[in-house]
Subunit: 578 residues, 2 copies
């Protein structure tokens, strides 16, 4: 959803207000966080970039959450206080010295700010804790390895001394994946280990260090003729919402999915080979397009979230970059049932898939119509004339890519199926609106949080068969808290099913109450037959449900691998429920 307005300001600019037509304008923070402040840790993305709710979105929030303009007069704690408490390191000073000797003085830090920063993710609760100046489980030492040898040496020392090891890529975990319940060391991969290792245009593969960030990775490929001396330009095909602030390694170790996954595949599908440093030694898998040499170790390392070892390098598939063939489309369907049915027919249609495909449920659609200023306008009147009414109608949009004949044929089939399920074609306009803001929504969360308004998400995958039951069950639990918005979309499509992504917005200041609320939603997902996660991973947030969800036999297999690779249990302890 593109739900806000963005701006970039210099650090010199002060807090400013934005006028919203016909309403008093809330004051939004549009200055970078103070140095060394809690806000500097939790604020999303670029410190100098901001995105505030659009007037339309704000109106919806005010109406649904029953907020008056008064509620936007005074901010909650904004967390601009410095991280100044003492928090002695639990590490033996001799161990610290050994680690410092490995990576060099400049590449270790025991400062509390750094230890807190690199042990914090972007889950709603992370943000709430930091905003209130609370410090949960952090590491004892931050280490910035320069290369694989550094990682090998550090993991070796930590294994010997029983020191926990955590891995930080881009820091966008929303599952408490970076918490350090036993302290220890956090390895920051993105500082130095962000380099190209190899590009093979013949095989269409690229090997990079795991700490390379999304934009650097994609830019390298898009400009391959310049940057890599390639004949053609390429794309990585992986664009999670966190794209700008997530690392290639994080995509894989937490089993991410990009917004274009319906065509390119999920992160796991794009991986050809990996190299891990585990307490048991180095594990490198082979870069074959396919093999039948027994169970694939390459597969069993995917999604290991640092619990088996440190991913140091990865070989990925790349795809010829053909932006000129992109075709955007959007439709309005009379209801969620017909939209989902069309989505299923498209996913099972055997003509290939659009790269991006999204179905918004009725509530998300209504918010979108308000936000885009379409509600009450000409389009809205036409929609209503065609019985496409608020509270029921559903927005579907997407984008086809690939060879031009392929993309054109996908759009032709999508239109045909949409028409046959009473979808009204809306041109590519809504898709362009969404596309424009597709990475920037997380900025808006900080702005809303400043006024005590929570905006959080939980997501899962589902078979087609179970989709509506799951949707209804989870919505019922989300909405059981009064004055709550619950927007849902499906955005990753397979012939066998899709994902459901729940966005909930409510006012809640108490961390404990929020935790109870969040857990009730996870519980509802699990009970209604959704997977615990489609693409956020497990971390420590889903860990308590893992045994019930996967069953003891599957968990025992994971525990066996954990024990094999990490006999002392030093690697990201507690993550994955291991």
């Amino acid at each position: 959803m593109n739900t806000g307005t963005t701006s970039k300001q210099t650090p010199d600019e002060k807090m400013t207000g934005q006028k919203t037509t016909g309403h008093p304008s809330p004051t939004w923070i549009e200055t970078p966080p103070k140095d060394n402040s809690f806000r500097a840790i939790f604020k999303w993305g670029n410190p100098e970039a901001f995105k505030n709710p659009s007037p339309g979105f704000l109106r919806v929030i005010q109406r649904e959450l029953k907020l008056s303009d008064m509620d936007f007069q005074r901010m909650q704690c904004i967390g601009n206080e410095p991280v100044s408490m003492e928090k002695p390191s639990a590490l033996d000073p001799r161990d610290v010295e050994v680690l410092r000797d490995i990576v060099g003085e400049d590449n270790v830090s025991a400062a509390v700010f750094d230890r807190l920063k690199f042990a914090s993710g972007k889950a709603m609760e992370d943000l709430m804790q930091l905003r209130q100046g609370r410090v949960k489980d952090i590491c004892d030492l931050v280490v910035h390895p320069r290369n694989r040898a550094d990682v090998e040496a550090v993991v070796g020392v930590c294994h010997d001394r029983g020191i926990s090891v955590h891995v930080y890529g881009g820091g966008s975990s929303v599952t408490f994946g970076l918490d350090c319940p036993k302290g220890g060391v956090t390895l920051v991969m993105s500082t130095h280990m962000n380099r190209l290792i190899r590009f093979n245009e013949t095989d269409q593969t690229i090997t990079v260090e795991s700490g390379m960030m999304g934009p650097a990775y994609e830019d390298l490929l898009n400009r391959a003729p310049e940057t890599l001396g390639a004949d053609k330009a390429y794309t990585g095909g992986h664009f999670p919402q966190s794209f700008e602030f997530s690392s290639v390694g994080g995509w894989i170790t937490a089993l991410g999915s990009g917004q274009a996954s319906s065509l390119y595949g999920d992160a796991a599908d794009i991986v050809v080979a990996q190299e891990f440093i585990t307490p048991r030694g180095r594990v490198e898998t082979l870069a074959y397009p396919a093999t039948a040499t027994g169970p694939k170790v390459n597969d069993m390392m995917k999604g290991s979230e640092g619990a088996f070892g440190v991913l140091v390098s990865v070989t990925l598939k790349v795809f010829e970059y053909l932006p000129e063939n992109t075709r955007k489309f959007a439709f309005m369907f009379p209801d969620f049932e017909s939209a989902v049915l069309a989505g299923r027919r498209i996913s099972q249609g055997r003509f290939g898939m659009p790269a991006i495909f999204r179905i918004s449920d009725a509530e998300e659609t209504d918010v979108a119509m308000q936000m885009y200023g379409l509600e009450g306008g000409v389009l809205d009147r036409i929609l209503k004339l065609r019985s496409l009414r608020p509270g029921r109608r559903c927005l579907v949009m997407g984008q086809a890519e690939g060879e031009c004949g392929f993309a054109a044929n996908v759009v032709r089939n999508v239109k045909k199926i949409a028409r046959s399920h009473n979808g009204m074609y809306l041109t590519g306009y809504p898709m362009r609106k969404w596309y424009h803001g597709r990475f920037s929504d997380p900025y808006m969360r900080d702005a809303l949080n400043d006024y005590g308004i929570l905006i959080d998400t939980l997501e899962c995958s589902t078979t087609w068969e179970n989709l509506h039951h799951l949707h209804r069950s989870v919505r019922a639990v989300v909405k059981a808290t009064p004055d709550t918005i619950c927007m849902t979309h499906a955005s990753h499509f397979y012939a066998q099913g899709t994902n459901l992504y729940f966005i909930f917005i409510t006012r809640m200041a108490d961390i404990k109450a929020f935790r109870t609320y969040q857990q009730s939603i996870i519980d509802a997902i699990e009970k209604a037959g959704g997977s615990l996660s489609h693409h956020h991973g497990v971390g420590r947030m889903m860990a308590p449900w893992m045994e019930r969800h996967l069953g003891t036999a599957q968990m025992d297999a994971l525990r066996a691998l954990k024990t094999h690779f990490d006999p002392k249990g030093i690697m990201n302890p507690g993550s994955l429920g291991l």
Copy 2:
């Protein structure tokens, strides 16, 4: 390659000869094997079906192997002797009784013929041993489980008593996957455990017992409106050469690939969920289209070849069956390099893939031209006029499937790329010839073996980058044995590479000499950077190379899983090198 002529006869018919134009006709065996004979075990497929080399193919063999008509006067041992030796069971009679009590009297057999039959695969050496009446490592008892509870009980007893357990699906292993080096029990899954469990048209999934055979599976789906009360007809999309005599479970546990894998994926890609009985208990994975709940146990069981447990049921993806959209094509390229380059461009072209795509190297192409009676004809003259000459030219063919616009666009792009690499369009004729005989070639092996002519295959996968080096290196080793045909094709395509499938034909009667020869080829594949297997699996044939190929770190991970699921090492011991 379609290299023969087929016939079916009643058991009453006697050995007959087939006239081959201009040559004295060898006598081919066209009577079913005698009951309880070695031949009844090793003969491929339907006892009453035969396929003899076509006159063209025979001419090539005679010429290349320097055989005179005299060499086709007298057959080698044909193995029609009864399996009559004594081979006492090593099992404690009390254990046999317990097992018999589980499955019932009718479902166990200690007869040597049965024990030999279900411990024999279809590797060349299996056939040679059986032909000579030799009995290698066989099981002590054949058990035909009726259901999952039987398997659980049998595995439980065997785990308690330390009895080895082997699993027989269709018996088409070519990697010594069915050998029983420690005797024990062989479970025959295809006798009873071949039933439909569930069909879900909404999710396009089917759940079957692992012993269902290929044709029953495909027929069930093709006739889904009748057999399953479905709205549409479906296909499984998996057609290995062994299709008619292989089981669904075997496809998955040995990581098979079908002839249409370039579109439908390899067996591993088609699996949604699995249910195994291991000595450690039942392991059932969940049927989600995708998840991010940590490393996937579903993936780590694929390719386990019975070494972790017994696959009892499996949920697979099905695809809408659209045979009316099939489009066949074929081209002749001036050389292997240009054919491979075109194959790579097609695989990387972002327009989807043909379902079937095959590139024959020059030697295979020359054999095909002879076989189809094209050499020296009008087409041959046209080809030569266009500088498409024997010894260099390469045949490429395939078949597009899917939604009609998709299939048409694939063919349009294939033609465009082929043309730009000097491929001459040959219509769909050669593809139709190949398609017609695509499952029946294994029959011909028995006919040639009767005259001491070996025809065997080894296969591997490769990146595009390494393809030509691998092809040259392996051919050099195959051809180092004088008077040997070596035909190579690539038949499973990915953006990152393909497979190479080597067919070698030579005259060799000595088993030891053959084993040395075969091992030298496997060694050449491994040394030249091919994977040990693309789709035949590991079994015991590739096992000695596994540590060198995958490296100790990957093998240690497999050993850890083996120890977890099968702490006493009773499950298919020695397979996978575990």
